[in-house]
Symmetry: C2
Subunit: 241 residues, 2 copies
């Protein structure tokens, strides 16, 4: 991967994820070519932005010819690290954790659940998707027996920070937080030992509430929604990269 | 609200939601004043961006004095429409719908569930959070007996588009889509009647997978993460608005 340590804005990574989703939709619609202006229109950004975002990671198109959809899709998957398997544990196996475990789509990207954990005696020992729920105390030992890449956090908000600490202390370096509270390394109080443990940790928050809030705004202000493309425009592609 | 029909980028609305979350964290930490540069640093944007985003909706600060945290929080809640109640129905009461219904935090913003719907005979009739799950066929009649503002979609992806159509046909104008597929008015095939029905509809997608993909990237490329603020910086506030 041609990524150097230059400063790539987090918003560019979020946009790569959106471009990938658009490419998947184009592929499903059997549209084989696209362009920066086509991607831009669908993603509601400028064509310059698309070209700039992609340029962080290499040259993918041909000037005047646009992009080949399956090729650009494969390249973005490689850039994002979605061409490999990810071993995931879920911490918190109540309704939210069970919804996460059963969420269709995760397996499309080879996110595979290898361990489920909780502290509730009602849940520990139960079998969910072929895995026996283990006590959170067993996580550290579990991680020593097999590689675990990511931890998905699905505990109640008041336990989120402590559960995140359990994941990090066990050596897990990527956390997807579903709890309605922010897990932020910067908010971890305390010892410099804990701080350095968190240095290599990436946290993403899946924020149900952010979607609700944006929806409230646009439902009150439908005239402020960005103008939608007409269905007929879906098949149009312009061929400049 | 001082919102005109000028073009406000959707990204600005997403940032308002982030500023609101930061203000809530500041309030919880009993920090009573902030500034555009303080908000900018916490939100990882520029101070100019913060001032521009807020300026769409009015003048909230005092030059050289910054913002009063509870006041700006209240103003943003008003702008976003979070100072009123929202009557919500959930379509799809499997694990995902149950997780949504039980997700703590929604009630903080007066999103109240008034009806639960599914088509599965195993689920219809069951009581969840004090509400009896009704058959999706009953939605249209239900909406005529009481005001429903929003529909949360928690069905399997292959049923998402049809279920969204059921919500829209019943007269619901805001959809929060939890299914791992895009619901887009622009992707609705068909008749001009259906198209005009969707004209006033706002859709927000809560994308679990987008978080997973960003997490994959940053876990592989921890050196590309934006630099985090140190915990000690959390209490610093600069007083220029």
């Amino acid at each position: 991967m041609s990524v150097s340590s230059q400063d790539i804005p987090t918003a560019a990574i979020s946009r790569l994820v959106i471009y990938l989703r658009i490419l998947e939709a184009l592929e499903a619609a059997e549209i084989s070519r696209t362009s920066s202006s086509d991607l831009a229109e669908r993603a509601q950004v400028t064509a310059f932005q698309v070209r700039k975002d992609l340029a962080y990671f290499g040259r993918f198109g041909t000037r005047g010819m646009g992009y080949t959809v399956p090729l650009l899709k494969r390249e973005l998957m490689r850039v994002l690290g979605l061409n490999r398997t990810w071993n995931v544990v879920i911490m918190g196996m109540g309704r939210l954790g069970q919804a996460v475990a059963n969420y269709p789509g995760a397996s499309d990207y080879q996110f595979g659940y290898v361990g489920l954990f909780d502290i509730d005696p009602e849940l520990v020992g139960r079998e969910i998707r072929g895995l026996k729920v283990q006590h959170a105390d067993e996580l550290k030992g579990f991680v020593q027996t097999r590689p675990v890449d990511l931890g998905f956090l699905a505990v109640p908000p008041e336990h989120a920070q402590a559960a995140a600490q359990t994941l990090v202390s066990a050596g897990i370096r990527g956390i997807l937080n579903f709890a309605p509270t922010m897990i932020q390394p910067r908010l971890i109080p305390g010892s410099s030992e804990v701080e350095s443990e968190w240095k290599a940790v990436s946290v993403e928050n899946v924020d149900f509430l952010a979607g609700m809030k944006r929806l409230a705004f646009y439902t009150l202000n439908p005239h402020l929604r960005p103008s939608e493309l007409k269905p007929s425009e879906l098949s149009s592609t312009e061929l400049e990269a």
